[in-house]
């Protein structure tokens, strides 16, 4: 198999004195949708934050497109073609919807145009002049994903894109992720919603207590549901 777009090896990380990642090894290949599963507090979000350069203290190896990314500041990681959509969505209340959308600068060619984004998320077009805080949870999630599609980033890190959303919105987010994959984006996402993940993900990793404890492709996820669910404590 070719060199993965993202390779994480033996990654450990700390919040202050507390070690929150013990040993994370994972790979994401170009064009894949890979899902990180695990209980609350297992280290899924921390893994994404470590990749993005948001943690002060990390050890191990992270390579993105063949370049070492461990210890880089977030603005440098972004320039390697990575974009991050946080769990809390991070919509800026003091900015309008369109300002939020246009905020991240274009760092590389190949991103979607504003028109293409509005085509993908027609809701946002009608609300473009609204304040960022006026959106519903689903619209905020759409906007949080939408605004990182313009920048030319090839690898999207999505943290719990369906959290707290109504089933019909979850469906829409699922369709969006499939469309993004078809357009050539590579996606690493954290997900609590096991059913949602099992339909979208090409491969998955289960994280527990800061370690990768299980991994496989979607067939494993489909055939071995009971065991995976027990790992997730559902």
């Amino acid at each position: 198999m070719s060199e993965p777009l993202l390779r994480v090896q033996d990654l450990a990380a700390w919040y202050g004195e507390t070690q929150s990642l013990q040993r994370i090894d994972l790979e994401v290949h170009t064009g894949e949708v890979v899902c990180l599963l695990g209980r609350n507090g297992a280290g899924k979000t921390t893994t994404l934050r470590a990749i993005m350069g948001l943690l002060a203290r990390c050890q191990g190896r992270i390579t993105i497109g063949g370049q070492s990314a461990l210890g880089l500041v977030p603005e440098k990681v972004a320039r390697l073609g990575v974009a991050y959509c946080p769990e809390e969505r991070g919509i800026f209340a003091s900015l309008s919807v369109e300002e939020n959308l246009l905020l991240p600068p274009v760092l590389a060619p190949g991103g979607l145009s504003v028109d293409e984004i509005y085509e993908l998320f027609p809701n946002l077009l009608s609300r473009r002049a609204s304040g960022g805080s006026k959106l519903s949870g689903g619209e905020q999630q759409m906007l949080a994903i939408a605004r990182i599609l313009r920048t030319g980033a090839k690898l999207l890190l999505l943290d719990e894109p369906t959290e707290g959303l109504a089933p019909v919105i979850v469906e829409a987010i699922g369709r969006t992720i499939t469309q993004l994959q078809a357009r050539g984006f590579t996606i690493l996402m954290v997900e609590q919603n096991f059913r949602f993940a099992s339909r979208l993900a090409d491969r998955f990793y289960v994280i527990d207590e800061g370690c990768v404890v299980e991994s496989g492709d979607r067939h494993v996820l489909a055939n071995d549901t009971a065991r995976i669910e027990s790992l997730l404590g559902v």
Binding site: L54, A78, Y84, S94, L102, P105, L107, I148
Partner: protein
């Protein structure tokens, strides 16, 4: 005393003085608001930086023969560069610590600067000739040209700065970085550089205020510390970090102060602080504050 017993010339005169003072309150509190908004630093050196601006203008005239209009162009750039240097070499080291450290650092810087200038120039002021002679004669009052210029220029500068922060892309970076700097960094925006530029902008505005003040007040080492106490009150009244609040409260309180001087002269010196007390009691976030700071 009744308002109707006061001759219109006196009213216009005090309004003018109020607007002049208000121009400087607005310029300085604007810089403070921008710095506080993004860096969360209460820049106690702001008055000293304003004084420095006035002294640089004076020195340019005295030693280089470069007049007011040159100073208006060069001094803001020089003070902004100085501000960026201070941010890079000192304030940045305090980033992530309790904001009190930055407050103490800038307070110390103010004392040092003012002390050094007092040592060199004494406490008496240096005169600076007005660059605009003459004035506009109205039926009931005379408006000196330079004062009219200061009010107009200050308004334009304030509104331009407001437009810059609220309506441009760079301004959107500033507002976003105020809310969530880490996330803005993940978009590839160099937030540390943004902090340096913002501090430079704030200090540059203080320096610009100093140049504009030089022909009106005497250029003296304590001109900043006399003003800055009122300016802090103005910032609190307008709402910490609120740009439009700083501008509105700056001009508004200048006028309130001027009118108080007519109606109750004894209270003119404290009216701003009375307003501050009332605002803090009834609207603690300030007149334009969002209350999320």
């Amino acid at each position: 005393m009744n308002l109707f017993d006061i001759p219109p010339a006196a009213i216009v005169g005090q309004l003018m003085v109020g607007l002049i003072n208000g121009s400087f309150y607005a310029l300085l509190s604007l810089g403070l608001a921008i710095i506080f908004g993004l860096l969360h630093i209460v820049n106690f050196a702001h008055g000293a930086q304003y004084m420095l601006g006035a002294f640089i203008a004076w020195a340019m005239l005295e030693y280089l023969g470069l007049g007011y209009w040159w100073a208006l162009l060069i001094v803001p750039l020089v003070t902004a560069c100085l501000g960026m240097l201070i941010e890079r070499t000192m304030l940045r080291r305090l980033h992530g610590l309790d904001p009190v450290y930055a407050l103490l650092l800038t307070f110390g810087m103010a004392l040092l600067l003012e002390g050094a200038f007092r040592l060199k120039f004494g406490a008496t002021g240096q005169p600076y000739a007005s660059p605009l002679e003459g004035g506009i004669r109205l039926p009931f009052a005379y408006l000196p040209a330079y004062r009219v210029w200061v009010i107009a220029a200050s308004l334009v500068i304030c509104l331009t700065t407001w437009w810059f922060v609220e309506r441009t892309r760079f301004g959107a970076y500033l507002r976003a970085a105020h809310e969530n700097p880490q996330l803005v960094r993940t978009f590839g925006i160099r937030v540390p550089l943004l902090l340096t530029l913002t501090y430079g902008l704030g200090v540059g505005l203080a320096g610009l205020g100093g140049v504009m003040a030089a022909p009106i007040y005497q250029v003296n080492p304590l001109m900043g510390s006399n003003l800055i106490v009122v300016v802090f009150a103005v910032v609190v009244i307008g709402g910490m970090g609120s740009i439009i609040g700083a501008i509105a409260a700056g001009f508004g309180l200048g006028v309130v102060e001027g009118l108080t001087r007519l109606l109750a002269p004894d209270y003119a010196g404290i009216v701003v602080f009375i307003v501050m007390l009332l605002v803090l009691a009834f609207k603690p976030a300030g007149l334009f504050g969002r209350g999320d700071l």
